[in-house]
Symmetry: C2
Subunit: 264 residues, 2 copies
């Protein structure tokens, strides 16, 4: 995600500085002209940045936020790209006033995440959810909106709690659903697979460590979702068990309608 | 599916005759040169066919099989395209010897099904599952394999029971999973949706009446699958409830591995 963002911002910033723990990633990013300069030590690299973008897994974002004030002595807008927002925004509220926090969440994840798959057009036409705090200034909001629009995304300000509750249903639960389905498919059934299974299980290929961070920081909302979802499947199971196809069809019709009206 | 098959067979058959209850569908198929001739009455149209392909929902296939001997007085190979095979093959076993039955199931369903979406390349590179009976002759088997290869598909002979048991997991359960997820997504959450949700719920757009036929004729296998699936989700829910992220990660790792090894 960080690589795709750097590519998309190329030519729109004074300078793009890359920071990664892995020096090989920085070398590759330099070779591919994805960044102008870079290295592994944020303390020597980011102290003059106008915008600091935290494009790492959530638990790492939380650690970085603790250290940020010691790395950057001046004013900057701090934007993270984490998929849950409550814990991150809470940690951001502890930043000094000179570091202006904005939460960001571009809805364009790929299940293949690495610099090799960086794509300048990844964000085009996708919602870029933004969250703010009382302390977030107009300047920081404008910078974040401008960044989203520069890469072709659609900036949308959302409430922090609503973000996490809704994403639990539209993103985090779908991951668990895909994973559970993949888990029960017999090993030798490749010849019995069509595009439907591939589509339904696609999210199971997401980075597990990234997903664990999401799950840890959105546990209660995901629990509510998985409970509601299992109940829905339980209703289907009961009608099927009873051979009550009339009630089953009514239930499935409601799901079909919601799909047509709200998703498709 | 019938329209796509007719398009794919174009130029490889002496004549392609279309039969549909809806005269408008036949007119459109004639206009688009998808069929050479056609109409609504099978009794006057199919009596000289060498191959009769039943490309309708399953319950309609079952009814057509009952009437077929009265419509076709000679020899023919009968191939259906239904997504479940046990009930259809059982009904096929009642055909007179002159009508040679082969079960067919091309794994290339689209959620948009109608003649408007007919696509000659729909079958290219996809598995075309075939089932036979004791009474199925070598001639009929060769015709079915030849048909599959002519349209670019890969013919694979499978056991009838294994077909229905495996497809319950790889196709019919995924439909229910997608439908249940679509059903619990809040109506106003379109701005919170990324490609993951669209992929996971895609099958919810399938024709419900077609799916009801599948569910009716594969009830027991689907029940077994939905039960197993809910148990898996229940394990996830328990670990999440207990905050036992270590066990949850182990469980998710297994799903991730099965996805990588058997699906992706």
């Amino acid at each position: 995600m960080g690589g795709s963002l750097a590519l998309a911002l190329n030519g729109h910033c004074r300078e793009i500085i890359g920071v990664d723990q892995d020096v090989a990633v920085i070398s590759l990013a330099l070779e591919k002209n994805i960044i102008h300069s870079g290295g592994t030590d944020p303390a020597v690299l980011i102290h003059k940045a106008d915008i600091v973008i935290l494009a790492t897994p959530i638990c790492s974002i939380l650690r970085l936020l603790d250290q940020l004030p010691s790395w950057h002595p001046g004013n900057a807008v701090i934007i993270d790209l984490g998929s849950t927002k409550a814990e991150i925004m809470s940690r951001m509220s502890m930043l000094p006033d000179r570091l202006q926090p904005v939460g960001g969440h571009p809805l364009c994840g790929k299940e293949k995440s690495s610099l090799q798959h960086a794509d300048a057009n990844l964000f085009v036409g996708t919602p870029f959810l933004l969250t703010s705090q009382e302390s977030t200034t107009t300047h920081a909001r404008e910078i974040a909106e401008g960044l989203a629009m520069t890469i072709g995304a659609i900036p949308i300000w959302v409430d922090i709690q609503q973000h996490d509750a809704t994403l639990a249903l539209t993103s985090h639960l779908p991951y668990l659903i895909a994973n559970a389905l993949a888990a029960i498919i017999p090993e030798d059934s490749r010849k019995f697979m069509g595009p439907g299974l591939r589509s339904t299980t696609r999210l199971a290929g997401s980075s597990l460590s990234m997903m664990m961070d999401i799950i840890r920081t959105n546990r209660q909302n995901i629990l509510t979702g998985i409970h509601q979802y299992r109940e829905r499947l339980g209703e289907m199971e009961s009608y099927l068990e009873a051979g009550d196809y009339e009630q089953l069809e009514k239930l499935l019709q409601a799901g079909h309608d919601r799909y047509s009206n709200s998703i498709d």
